[in-house]
Amino acid sequence: MARRRINLPLRISMLDKVLFYFFAGTAVASGVLMVTRRNVVHSAIFLITALLATAGIFLQLRAEFLFIVQIILYVGGIMVLFVFVIMLVNLDVALQQIQFARQRWVGLFVALALAAQVSFMFWTSGKMPGQGLPVLTAAAATKLPPNSEAVARSLFESYLLPFEIASVLLLVAMIGAVVMAKKRA
């Protein structure tokens, strides 16, 4: 009986941890595979896995609305666009060509140096007395109201103007894409 009464917050935090490591591992592994695959279609598939794993991270962070938006918009919309363009553009000869640019070792070195710098920054900020990065508590999660409602309220009250600007941006992008992809008459 005593075993069944382990406190609920502890069990929730255990579950959070398991889900986080699962989704984070999936995202990082499929990101690496996406960058290293020779075939572009395989890269696209692995990008889809990485985006789905990110959606899982959003859900684990209690951002349900973004979880749905991520799946419908990214995985359903943008990735279909990518796969269409790959089908339109992909040449069979492209598979035989060298897939990495000449400056690949310099680029890799610069990226790893950047990673080392930022990790060092996180590490030192965690070591400083009283300056450590704060901890995600379970209380912060219960403070959030129902997610979609809260997002809508914030979006249409505090951020109405940016929302309108984003819609204009999407209109411009749509016209731009049509003009770009149109056949020259």
Binding site: K17, A24, V35, G77, V85, S119, P134, G176, A177, M180
Partner: protein, 100 residues
């Protein structure tokens, strides 16, 4: 207990993978996909801090970034199609019309 550092390091890892993809790949489509991965890494940070402070504004900004990524993908892929029609290539280092 998961701290914000877990999310920061996950986001950093995805960001760096995206940067490596952008600087090392020749295929422009893979470069565009790596940019999508970078934008996703930023979204993870925004949502993690939104959870940390119990403020939903971070999620709203993540929404804006997703809209931005959609616009960028549409225009970028349009440019790739237009370029492919003219030069029959999608490799970044063969796009050298402006190179002297």
């Amino acid at each position: 207990m998961l701290s914000i550092e877990h999310y920061l390091f996950l986001s950093l890892a995805l960001f760096i993978i995206g940067v490596v993809g952008v600087v090392t790949r020749r295929n422009v489509i893979v470069v565009l996909m790596s940019i999508e991965l970078i934008l996703n890494a930023v979204n993870i940070n925004l949502v993690a801090f939104s959870r940390l402070y119990g403020d939903v504004a971070g999620q709203v900004f993540a929404l804006f970034i997703i809209a931005d990524a959609a616009a960028e993908a549409a225009v970028g892929l349009g440019i790739i199609i237009a370029f492919f029609r003219n030069r029959e290539t999608v490799l970044a280092d063969e796009m050298d019309l402006l190179k002297w």
